[in-house]
Amino acid sequence: MSTLVLLSLLGFLVLFLGAFDQKKLLLPVAILGLVAAFFTNALDWGTNHLWYGMMLYDNYAISFVGLMIVTLILILLIASYQFRNEDSHIADIYALMIFVLVGALVMTSYSSLVMLFVGIEILSIALYILAGSRRTNLASNEASLKYFLMGAFASGFLLFGITLMYGVTGSFDLAVISDYANGTDNLPIIFTTGVILILIGFAFKIGAVPFHFWTPDVYQGAPTIITAFMATVVKTAGIAAFYRLFDTCFSGIDGVWYNILWAIAAATILLGNISAVMQNEAKRMLAWSSVAHAGYLLLPVLALNELSSSSIFYYTAAYSVASVTAFGVLIAISQFNNDLQIDQYKGLAKNKPMMTLALVVSMFSLAGIPPLAGFFGKYFVFVTAMESNLNIAVMVAIAGSLIGVYYYFRPVIYAFNNEGQPMERIATSWTFNFVLALGVFLTLLLGIFPDLLSNLPGN
């Protein structure tokens, strides 16, 4: 709870700093606040505090919140670099990102469906604004509107499902719903419809096929750093909330949703990867790839065994670090060119060897090449799935990974092509270099010593 309060206050503080034109203080205050939040969050470890029957702050929540705080710190450092020449409302952007984190925190720790909905709304509303934060840019506005409409749709489905569930069980409480689901022989059709509606709502939020069609446009239109933010923190929160609900409440009634989710996962993996192959714009390619990753993340939800939460956590961690690094490189290269084509990575190796290293490591990690973190994440997901005999789904995922190699390698191949335009003009800042170096380091470290995280969140 202290983390929740701290983060909310931090958001307001950042807003006020912006209002009083203290631009120099913004970044240090935000980072310090987040670091403090990370520690208060860690202090709750093992307490399993249930707040007013609404939020259960268990190790699962703490692990995911910790991960999202770290990711946000990295993203803010890159944001300060991307927005270094723009003086307009950076404070608003920082503050909104922190508010998104507040929503994400609620989404990972809810023990009542009401809190789930509140969390999702806190997160989403801030995101609608963030997606449109480049006010003069038409694409950004379009992204914002599209995201808002689709988000409203998803919220509608979710809310409808929650309502039906409440109608049947008379409670929003996860424990009550779980007892009802596992203790009733013939579940009323209203209840199963509720489960499916909630599933659809989540599928919308994490951008799973066939509810994915907003992702590429929104990801492409939003400012790149916001895209990175959506692909990492928001996706993590979505999948964590998804798993929490299905693990606590619906694990005993998988007959209702198993086949649907299986199909969604397989379709997401295949369509995400295949569509990414066909993209020529780097940002759009990364957007589609994030759809594919949502598909891999659904496998542990489908498997629903004792390894699931660990593999989801590990995978999101590996994916977040690699994505932030990949988007960071993209931001640096595309500073003179908004719609960066993949072949414009040409000449990177010659001019910016260190940035190329970051590109190679992050792309290979996303593609799942050992010994990087992304590989171990995939491996972990495969083990989890095969433990529950999802052998065919793993074969689909393997096919997806193979396709994935194609588009993740393209920027790398172009980067080693020496015919490109000189990139000396690319300016970097120390925060930017720091994030890239840290991203490379963490990707290697987590890949070689996965034990550092693979036991989280623990039970």
């Binding site: 590989f375 495969f382 080693f416």
Partner: protein
Amino acid sequence: MITAALIAFPFLAALLLFLLPANMAKKGALIATLIQAVFTAYVIFLFDINEHRSFLSNEQFILSQNWISSMGIRFFVGLDGLSLLMVILTNFLLPLIILSTWNREFRQPKLFYFLILMMQSALVGVFVSLDAFLYYIFWELALIPIYFIVLIWGGENRVKITFKFFIYTLLGSLLMLAAIIWLYLQTTDRSFGIDAFYALRLDATAQRWIFWAFFLAYAIKIPLLPFHSWQPDTYTTAPNAGSMLLSGIMLKMGIYSIFRWILPITPMAVSAYSDIVLMMCVAGIVYASWIAVGQKELKRLFAWSSIAHVGLITAGIFTLSQTGFQGAMVQMLAHGVNVVGLFFIAEIIQQRTGTTEIEKLGGIRQLAPVFASCYMVITFASIALPLTNGFIGEFLLLSSLYDYSFIFASFAGLTIIFGAVYMLRAYKTSMLGENPAITVFADLSISEKLVLFPIVGLILFFGLFPQFIFNLTDESVKYLLTEISNHMVPTL
């Protein structure tokens, strides 16, 4: 510890290369590989070929350290005769491969030699790993450096070709990964250790699935017909050092892995499918030899002949006989040495004349007699003339095939005839006769002699005294045979 040091040394040396100035990278890499070779010689000296030890035949220098303990993954390495043979091959060929680049200036030399040393580290890792997960990591890790070597320093069309190569091999690896995970989930104490895998008694259906998942990875890597289509292009477009690494050492990963992983884990499937695999091999031998006869370009010719040779090696293994196993092990070493020699010959010709098209060459023997003589010895070894290292291996392999089936043996025997045709014709056309277009062809320089003379020496040495290889691998062969026969009857 010694085994781990064999892996770690090239890795650390590779990192240290970045501290050197660019023009010293080549020398640094050469020194590192020489130290590694001396170190390997010392390991041979320490290795006790008569030792029988516990569950794993004669594995020695075992190091078992928890690595990812939550998943039962260990850093578990050790050497038996077979592993040591492969380590010897790797570590003795590497200095020659680096020396073969002595006269060439690569752009970004530090990166180039860094990748080669990384590759050495990963290859040694593949050959000594006794934990399936660790083995898989090294298996994949070996692919990355060679990918970049071909991508950055390769010839025409390299982007497309390397891509096909990468996707092809990755497809195999990922299926193998799924099989490894499946086996891991079957072990009683959730372990990736080779001992736990060998202790599994799988039923026939499971063995079939596992067999194909592993075998596909190896068939692509070796490569066997019909998975060979990446190979000629990749060998041709790769810089010569890359072709040497690929054909001399990397494809041996596949053959070695058949011994290490497929045979003891899925013996029933192996004997059930041996006819199919032998057909693949024999078809590959005949087909590749036939194609090789029609090649007009040296590197392509060597690439195709390599497919024929490794097909024969694999065929020997799948006869499941002592002769076949021993022949395969001898021939792995011999093929590694010979093919590195051949690609270096192609490199020298390419540098001097600017082409490797056979028709455009000729008359080189008069201009460079030492070079031509070395080429001749390597050619003889490649067509398995007696007294060369190629003879013993091919003889054993063909005799094991003959014991298995006369028909297979007679078709596979064509490789000797075809081999003689295309190799000797290539030699004749490129070296003998007269060619007014080639008036200058300097004979071998000192660095080139330092590569070719050891290769010629090894060819003759192992042709005359193959006993060393038999001594080294004897225990492994016996162990494999008993392990297979023990596994044939599943204990239910």
